[in-house]
Symmetry: C2
Subunit: 171 residues, 2 copies
């Protein structure tokens, strides 16, 4: 095997989104057991001016489908950020994984030098594919997955580091 | 440029550790301004049974120097986890960066298939280099950097996503 732009993007995102999905299933079970309204968990924040769980998951979706689409040079699906239940959040994750898995690896491989422009606020940010993936997209993605984990951990859901790492390929 | 095992490890770790160092400087300034004993921040946890800030930083160090050394096939420095002040934590980060930057890129490049064994508890886990880096080491590393950020954010330190992302290479 040889490392490639595809290997460092799609399979990394997909693995972590699957782990996030399993963590959300544990959150639902916790809410049922403790008779917590699931919407309480979905609206929880670590800090009042940080985003709630629902947004962390939407941003984990955006920060995987967006980078993969930009690196592949294909249009990215736009999801409307309307999810308010765990079922809807699971569906959002599933749609994101389905899109990621639909991308032809050959379109992402070789994208190291691809010019990528992000419009953030009223500014354009210009990247090349490789630094965009390694120093912007991946940290951003893991930021939101970890923060979603931390919100649920803070809420008392019985999850640990192994849920975050999930089932990873070893050999 | 062509993506490689080195590019996906050492520069990613170093960038993020530098951002973490800058975040800790902001934490010290916050403690001074608010007359908070810095050791209170260093001992803070998101949840009583999660590790405190000091351990998150030691683990960000371990989860970067360890993977880089294993992929390179060189001995990794052992640090004793005795840091109790922000100066000592900064020094830990600096030592980690110095070690990472001392590794010859050619030793890590080509390590996709390298056999890597981790001893965790009383178990051995066997990996190949590429899945170890992508699906174990990187998620673990970002988990601890993000959790350190979240602890300080929770403590009221004035940091935002741009501090987490830091100064990243664009073009």
């Amino acid at each position: 095997m040889t490392i490639s732009m595809y290997q460092v993007s799609v399979p990394v995102f997909v693995n972590s989104l699957k782990n996030l999905s399993a963590i959300l299933h544990k959150a639902v079970a916790h809410a049922e057991q403790k008779k917590i309204d699931p919407s309480v968990l979905i609206g929880m924040r670590l800090v009042p001016d940080m985003l709630p769980l629902s947004r962390q998951i939407q941003l984990a979706s955006d920060n995987s489908k967006g980078p993969a689409a930009r690196l592949a040079g294909v249009e990215r699906p736009v999801f409307e950020d309307t999810e308010t239940t765990f079922d809807e959040l699971q569906s959002r994750i599933a749609k994101t994984i389905a899109f990621l898995e639909s991308i032809d690896a050959a379109k992402i491989d070789g994208s190291e030098e691809r010019a990528i422009t992000l419009h953030i606020g009223d500014k354009d940010m210009h990247f090349r594919g490789q630094p965009y993936l390694l120093h912007f997209a991946l940290p951003n993605f893991f930021f939101h997955v970890t923060t979603a984990y931390a919100i649920l951990r803070h809420a008392g859901v019985g999850i640990g580091k192994l849920d975050f790492l999930g089932s990873f390929p070893t050999e």
